[in-house]
C-alpha cells in the first residue's frame, strides 16, 4: 500500500506545532497501525530525522496508553478497539491519513502525538477507591454474595482503560464518561456504597478543577469508547451526584 500521511509534529509543550506530510510506501494490510508508524519512524531515523513520538505500550488494547486521533476519530475508523488494535486492512491503497494527538485543554501536548493525561490520575486520587486497609484481615471473600447482574454491571464499568478517547471525541472535551465509569463501579457494589456520597462529590469536583468541559448528552464518547463503556454510567453518576447534593 501507498499512503499519504499528515502528522502533527510539535517539539515540546511550549512550541507551536504543525501538520507535516509524509508519503509512505510498502505498507502491508496485515500490519497494525502502530507498526505502520514504526516503519515510517525507521525511515526517518535512517534519513537522520527525528522520529515521530507517540504513546503506546501493551499493543493489545488493554493498557490505554495509545491515544491517536486518526482521520478525526479517536482510535481511528474501526469501532470498539484502540489505535494499537487497528490494522491497515481498514485502509485502502492511496489513502490520505491524518494523525493528531488528543485535543483537550486538560490534556496538554508533551511532544508530537503524546499528551499529558495526569488529570485522569488526579480524578481517581480524589476518591476512586474503597478505604479498606490492604494489610488487614478482611472478611472472607464469599461472605457478601453479590447479585450477578450487579457484579456484571460493575465489571463492565470497571473495564475502562483510561485512554481518554471519550474526552477527545467530545466536542466539549468532557470527562464524564471516564469519571462516571469509576463512580459506577463502586456505586454498584455493596463495598463501595459506604463512601458513595463523598466519592461522587470529590471526583466531580476534581474533574471540574482539571478543566474538562460539561456534558451535553451527545453520546460521541460512548460511540468512540474502545471498551464500549455505556452512557448509563453518566446517568448513574448524575443520580448519585444529585442525591449526594440533596443529602448535603
Amino acid at each position: 500500500m501507498k499512503l499519504h500521511l499528515k502528522i502533527w509534529r510539535q517539539k515540546d509543550a511550549n512550541s507551536k506545532g504543525q501538520m507535516v506530510d509524509y508519503p509512505l510506501n510498502g505498507i502491508e494490510k496485515d500490519m497494525s497501525f502502530l507498526e505502520m508508524l514504526d516503519v515510517l519512524n525507521e525511515q526517518l531515523i535512517n534519513n537522520g530525522e527525528e522520529p515521530i513520538e507517540f504513546d503506546h505500550d501493551c499493543r493489545e488494547g488493554i493498557c490505554g496508553t495509545c491515544s491517536l486521533m486518526i482521520n478525526g476519530r479517536a482510535h481511528g475508523p474501526d469501532t470498539r478497539i484502540t489505535a494499537c488494535q487497528l490494522h491497515m486492512r481498514s485502509f485502502s491503497d492511496g489513502d490520505t491519513i491524518v494523525i493528531e494527538p488528543w485535543r483537550a485543554k486538560a490534556f496538554p501536548v508533551i511532544k508530537d502525538l503524546i499528551v499529558d493525561r495526569s488529570a485522569f490520575d488526579r480524578i481517581q486520587q480524589a476518591g476512586g477507591y474503597i478505604s479498606v486497609n490492604t494489610s488487614g484481615n478482611p472478611v472472607d471473600a464469599n461472605a457478601i454474595p453479590i447479585e450477578k447482574d450487579m457484579a456484571d454491571k460493575a465489571f463492565n464499568a470497571a473495564t475502562c482503560i483510561g485512554c481518554g478517547a471519550c474526552v477527545a471525541a467530545c466536542k466539549n472535551a468532557s470527562a464524564m464518561l471516564f469519571t462516571s465509569a469509576k463512580v459506577s463501579q463502586f456505586a454498584l457494589l455493596p463495598q463501595g456504597r459506604v463512601e458513595a456520597t463523598e466519592r461522587v462529590q470529590s471526583m466531580v469536583r476534581q474533574m471540574d478543577i482539571e478543566g474538562f468541559g460539561n456534558c451535553t448528552n451527545t453520546g460521541a464518547c460512548e460511540v468512540e469508547c474502545p471498551k464500549g463503556i455505556s452512557l448509563e454510567n453518566i446517568a448513574r453518576m448524575n443520580r448519585e451526584y444529585l442525591s449526594a447534593t440533596v443529602q448535603g
Binding site: 500490519m31 514504526d38 480524589a126 454474595p145 473495564t159
Partner: protein, 667 residues
C-alpha cells in the same frame, strides 16, 4: 550453601511463615514516618507494595516509565489468579496449591517460599473483593472459578479475560488512596537508570525524567524493585513494548546476583507471527484451553493443502485430525503445563504439520465446546427438541460470555472469526521465571534492595503455572514484603534522612551521564530496533524452546559481537535533554545485550532439561525433559564481574523436605 543464605526459617513447613512473622522486628509507627522507601515499578507487585508500605506509615516514592501507574503490564494478564479457597469443594487445599506449583516448576523452586505463597493466596482474594475488584460470580452471587493448566482442581478466580486489569486497578486504587493522603509520591514517565549504594547498602536511585530528560537523585532507606520480567530480550514477546530489565540489571551491576536467567516461559497459545513487520505478539489466554481442543492434521498432505489455502480446517473430518495433546497426555489433555504444550506444538510444526503460511501454527478449536455448551443451555432452558442450528447459537453465546474479549481481539488481529473457524496459535515468549536472586525475605544480595513479583526468581522454579503470576505479584506486595522489609528497617530508625549530596550519588550520576552520552555518540549506522531485532533472532533461534551446547556457544559469541557493534554504531537521534523515545529504547537494548549473553551462558551451564529449559542433549526416548537432580538441583545465581563472560556462578542448593522429587508426568 556458599555465600548465599536463603534465610528460610526453621520449623515445620506450615508454621514457618507464621513463626517468622511473630519473631521479626517491627518498626514503631512514629519511626516509620522518618523512613523513606523507593518502589520502582507499579504493576501488581510494586503497586500493592507501595500502597501497603504507605499505609503502614512509611514515606513511599514510586517510579514508573508509563504515564500512569495503572498502565503497568500486569494489566494485560488475562486468565486469572489462583487461590486455595476450595470454594468448589473439589479437594483443593494450601498443600495442593503448593504441591502443584513446585511440581509445575519442575522442582527448581524453594519449598518454603512456595508454601508461603499458597498460604497467603486466600488473603489475596479476600483483600481484592474488599477493594471492589469485580470478579466473575455465579447466579447465586458467590465467586466463580475455572481451571488452568497443570492442575486437576478449579482454583482460578477471574474477571472475564481481564483479570490482570481488574487486579491492577485495585492496587492502583489502593495507591491512589495513599497518594491522596500524601504518603506516596508518584513519579510517572520516570525511569531508574542506576542504583546508589552507600556503605554497601541500597540507599537510592538515579532516575531520568523522560519528559524533560533531567537526571534526578532520589534517596531512601530501602529500594524495592518490582520491575517485571525481561522477555523483551527476544524482541518478539507478549510483553508490552517498554518492558525492560534496566532497573534489575543496574542493581545486578551494583552487586545483586541474577538467578536462573535462562528460565523463560514460552506460552503455547499466542497469535502466530504474520510477517517481518511484527512488533509484538498477542497472547490468547490459557483459560481457552479449558474449552478449546488443540490439533493439527494427521496427514502431511492435508497440512500442506491447508497451508496453500486449498483446504479449510472445518472441512477436515474428525478422524483426520490429530489432537496431539489428548493423544500424548491423556490425564491432563489440553491442560498440560505451558512448557509441555509449547514443546508439543513445536514438535508437530517441525515435523511439517503446521497450518499457516509459515508452517508455525496449530489449531485451537472451539466447535466441540460450542456444541456441548449449547446442548446444556437448550436443556436448562427447557428446549427439548432443539436442532443443531439452535444448539450452536446457544453455545456461541456461552463462549462469548466466557471469552468474548479474547475472541474479539483475535478477530481484529487475524481477520478471521474464531466462532466459525478454529483459532491459529503458536508459542511465544511470555514470562521469565528467572530474575534477581532473593532470600526468603525477598532481599537481594544487596542489603536494603528488595525484588518483588516477576523481577525476582523466587517461586516458579523452571516453569510457571497459569494464573500464578498475579498470585505471586500480589502476595509479595500485599502480604510478604511489608513484613520482611520492616525487619531490615528496624535497624535504620536512627539513621535519619539519607542525603543525595554525597560522593556515592555524585559518582552514580556521573556514570549515568557518561553512559547516556556514549549512547548518543554512536556512529549512526543502524537504529536501535535493528540491534534489538538481531538480538531477538539469536535468542529465539538459539536460546528458545529447545537449546543445545553448540548453538548456545554460538549465541554467546554472536551476542558479544553484536554488543560491541551496538556501542560503536548505534544511531540515536535527538538529544538527551528532551523527550527522546529512541534514547529510552537504546538504554534498554544495551542492557538486554548484556543479559542475553548471561542467559545463554546460564543455559549452557545447566546440563539438564527442566521446565522451560529444554536441552536437546537431555531428553527421554519419548522426547520428554530429562532432569538431573543429582547435579543440578540448585538455583544458579550469577555475580557480576564486568563482561557477562566473566560472571561467577554461585549455587543455592535446593532442599526438599516435604516433597518427593519425581519425574514430572502429565500422562
Amino acid at each position: 550453601m556458599g555465600i548465599l543464605d536463603s534465610k528460610v526459617p526453621a520449623g515445620p513447613l506450615a508454621d514457618k511463615w507464621t513463626n517468622h512473622k511473630n519473631h521479626i522486628e517491627l518498626v514503631n509507627p512514629a519511626n516509620k514516618r522518618n523512613i523513606d522507601i523507593i518502589v520502582v515499578g507499579t504493576g501488581l507487585a510494586g503497586g500493592s507494595a507501595a500502597a501497603t508500605l504507605a499505609e503502614l506509615g512509611y514515606n513511599v516514592k514510586t517510579f514508573c516509565y508509563q504515564d500512569s501507574p495503572r498502565r503497568a503490564h500486569s494489566i494485560a494478564a488475562q486468565g486469572g489468579v489462583n487461590a486455595a479457597k476450595n470454594y468448589q469443594g473439589d479437594g483443593d487445599s494450601v498443600y495442593r496449591l503448593f504441591y502443584d506449583t513446585v511440581k509445575g516448576g519442575d522442582y527448581r523452586s524453594r519449598e518454603a517460599n512456595v508454601y508461603r505463597l499458597a498460604q497467603v493466596s486466600t488473603n489475596i482474594i479476600d483483600q481484592c473483593v474488599a477493594q471492589g475488584v469485580p470478579f466473575a460470580r455465579e447466579y447465586g452471587g458467590l465467586l466463580d472459578n475455572r481451571s488452568f493448566g497443570g492442575v486437576l482442581v478449579s482454583r482460578t478466580f477471574y474477571a472475564k479475560g481481564q483479570t490482570g486489569q481488574q487486579l491492577l486497578l485495585g492496587a492502583y486504587a489502593a495507591m491512589n488512596r495513599q497518594i491522596q493522603r500524601g504518603k506516596i509520591k508518584s513519579y510517572t514517565r520516570h525511569e531508574m537508570l542506576d542504583m546508589v549504594l552507600v556503605d554497601g547498602k541500597a540507599r537510592g536511585i538515579i532516575a531520568r525524567d523522560l519528559v524533560t530528560g533531567e537526571i534526578e537523585r532520589h534517596s531512601a532507606h530501602a529500594v524495592v524493585l518490582a520491575t517485571g520480567g525481561y522477555g523483551n530480550l527476544f524482541f518478539l514477546s507478549t510483553y508490552c513494548m517498554g518492558a525492560n530489565v534496566m532497573a534489575a540489571w543496574r542493581a545486578h551491576r551494583r552487586g545483586a546476583f541474577f538467578a536462573n536467567p535462562c528460565f523463560t516461559q514460552i506460552h503455547p497459545t499466542c497469535i502466530p507471527v504474520s510477517g517481518d513487520h511484527q512488533s509484538k505478539l498477542t497472547l490468547m489466554s490459557e483459560s481457552l484451553r479449558n474449552d478449546g481442543r488443540i490439533w493439527v492434521p494427521k496427514r502431511l498432505d492435508d497440512a500442506k493443502a491447508i497451508r496453500e489455502g486449498k483446504l479449510k480446517p472445518i472441512q477436515l473430518k474428525e478422524e483426520d485430525r490429530d489432537y496431539y495433546l489428548e493423544r500424548r497426555y491423556p490425564a491432563f489433555g489440553n491442560l498440560v503445563p505451558r512448557d509441555v504444550a509449547s514443546r508439543a506444538a513445536k514438535e508437530r510444526c517441525d515435523a511439517g504439520f503446521g497450518v499457516n503460511k509459515t508452517g508455525e501454527a496449530v489449531y485451537l478449536d472451539f466447535a466441540a465446546a460450542i456444541y456441548r455448551y449449547g446442548k446444556e443451555e437448550a436443556l436448562t432452558h427447557g428446549m427439548k427438541g432443539a436442532d443443531d442450528k439452535e444448539i450452536i447459537k446457544l453455545g456461541k453465546q456461552v463462549i462469548e460470555n466466557k471469552y468474548g474479549n479474547l475472541f474479539q481481539m483475535y478477530e481484529k488481529i487475524v481477520d478471521e472469526n474464531p466462532y466459525e473457524t478454529p483459532m491459529m496459535i503458536y508459542p511465544a515468549v511470555h514470562y521469565t521465571m528467572g530474575g534477581l536472586w532473593v532470600d526468603y525475605n525477598l532481599q537481594t544480595t544487596i542489603p536494603g534492595c528488595y525484588a518483588a513479583g516477576e523481577a525476582n526468581f523466587s517461586d516458579h522454579g523452571a516453569n510457571r503455572l497459569g494464573a500464578s503470576a498475579l498470585m505471586q505479584g500480589l502476595a509479595d506486595g500485599y502480604f510478604v514484603l511489608p513484613y520482611t522489609i520492616g525487619d531490615y528497617l528496624s535497624q535504620d530508625i536512627r539513621t535519619g534522612a539519607i542525603s543525595t549530596d554525597s560522593p556515592e550519588f555524585d559518582a552514580a550520576e556521573a556514570d549515568t551521564r557518561a553512559r547516556l552520552e556514549k549512547l548518543m555518540s554512536g556512529k549512526g549506522l543502524h537504529s536501535v530496533d535493528y540491534y534489538h531485532k538481531k538480538l531477538g533472532k539469536i535468542m529465539w533461534n538459539k536460546c528458545g524452546m529447545s537449546r543445545n551446547a553448540k548453538e548456545l556457544q554460538e549465541a554467546i559469541d554472536e551476542i558479544a559481537e553484536l554488543r560491541a557493534d551496538f556501542w560503536e554504531n548505534v544511531r540515536v537521534p535527538g538529544t538527551a535533554v528532551s523527550k527522546n523515545q529512541e534514547l529510552e529504547k537504546a538504554g534498554r537494548v544495551a542492557d538486554f545485550l548484556e543479559l542475553g549473553e548471561l542467559f545463554a551462558k546460564d543455559a549452557l551451564t545447566r546440563n539438564e532439561s527442566c521446565g522451560g529449559h529444554f536441552r536437546d542433549e537431555y531428553q527421554t526416548p519419548e522426547g520428554e525433559a530429562l532432569r538431573d537432580d543429582e547435579n543440578f538441583k540448585f538455583v544458579s545465581a550469577w555475580e557480576y564481574k564486568g563482561e557477562p563472560k566473566e560472571a561467577v556462578l554461585h549455587k543455592e542448593n535446593l532442599v526438599y523436605e516435604n516433597i518427593e522429587l519425581k519425574t514430572r508426568s502429565y500422562k
